[in-house]
Symmetry: C2
DNA sequence: TCATTGCTGATTGTCGACAATCGGCTAGAG
DNA sequence: CTCTAGCCGATTGTCGACAATCAGCAATGA
């Protein structure tokens, strides 16, 4: 008996990434929501979307479940689905949750091969820099996600990482909104990540955690916080 | 224009809780998985389940998405769905994530009306005690969930609470397994929560957080943890 | 004997149609 | 004029059927 275990074919090291129909629809809708082509409070009617995308309503339904899980839309059973509005309180809520999860991933240090991590972070940062120069917000947000994903990944904490990634979309939405509203330079984002990379390179865990805290929570009123760090 | 906002009818204070078909199926399957009627590695075939429950495959599909999100089953696209096996490492992973989320909810203290919280916790604990006396594992786990939900709820951190609740099922599975394996008395569970309630009653936040840490992490080797507390 | 190619049963992916439910509108009673 | 009950269009919930895909097996050729 050598190989009767239910091996999982093609899961992570996917050469070919096959996107299912619901996933493709989900991506399209997510992109529209994040780019405000579907502003908050917009009603999503299954039949309309099905017709537009040329798929069945079941497929749309499936995609919308995913968006609901990401917090991008709200589904009121038997009534309607609607694009979620994020209040300033929600922004704080998301950022805090995100910080908590990311910070908790550092409790075991930065893993064995810090050099490799630094190299990967560096690469992500350079791509981010390129995106900033090209004024490509989509790419910038994507690089931001990848950068933080690398940090969260070293812990090996699968649940923490999974839960963290649930907030990806909402975090991306916030990032775009913040940059738009305050009319920030995209290059600022690069700068804000350089300090994180520096802390990792120096192997200074305490500084890294402090910087991550700043990264996520600066700009929000801190009423009596005292969590570790 | 007085009331053209999309009010959300019947959302939280639901007098009548209508369980949709997928939700009902999800509950049934969840119950079977948690009670080991569907052991790890069991294949879930949509057609079979559809026939058994007397619903369509789409409904089963919907339910299985939910179980996947809870981490109870794994869905390999175009291949099969299978009940997840939890390794000891997974157990530690879940407990740590759970601790992190719950602990982070205490960063603002215990809210204004601690008396009300204490009362609610007390009630949950009494029900838990009754469940223990009746040797009713289902009820015990349910009370455990409610107890901790009360704690997490006072923070007002919606995302943290939502992410926390994602782990409910897996946590329940661990709890059952732990009690079965070590042949613990159900009354021990009650005892383990009494200390949490006491800390809340005394308003001793530091002690509460320390106890919560112990609650979730005792029994796992702590290799150099240093997170806040 | 061994590797490769084409079938085949089992299972999931997708679809279009029908049923149930909702809020808003309208008509009738008081 | 106001209130209530019932109808109606719009939308979601559910279903059964068909299409696509997969792993395993059989047939073929070297």
């Amino acid at each position: 008996m050598t190989g009767d275990r239910p091996r999982t074919p093609r899961e992570d090291g996917a050469i070919l990434e096959h996107v299912s129909l619901p996933e493709a629809v989900g991506r399209a809708l997510r992109h529209r929501i994040l780019n405000n082509e579907l502003p908050a409070e917009t009603r999503l009617v299954e039949a309309n979307l099905a017709a537009e995308f040329g798929v069945s309503r079941g497929t749309i339904r499936d995609a919308m479940r995913g968006l609901q899980a990401e917090g991008l839309i709200a589904i009121v059973p038997r009534r309607y689905s609607v694009v979620t509005r994020m209040s300033p309180a929600d922004a704080e809520d998301v950022c805090y949750a995100r910080f908590v999860l990311e910070d908790a991933c550092f409790d075991r240090g930065l893993g064995e091969d810090r050099g490799e991590l630094v190299q990967a972070l560096q690469a992500a940062l350079e791509q981010m820099s390129a995106a900033a120069r090209a004024d490509d917000m989509d790419a910038l947000v994507e690089c931001d996600t990848r950068f933080h994903e690398l940090l969260v990944g070293v812990s090996g904490r699968r649940r923490l990482k999974d839960l963290w990634s649930v907030l990806n979309s909402q975090m991306g939405a916030l990032m775009r909104a913040e940059i738009d509203r305050q009319d920030l330079q995209l290059s600022d984002a690069v700068q804000r990540h350089q300090v994180l990379l520096d802390a990792v390179r120096d192997g200074d865990l305490a500084r890294l955690r402090a910087e991550v805290r700043r990264h996520y929570l600066v700009g929000f009123p801190e009423r009596g916080q005292q969590a570790g760090g």
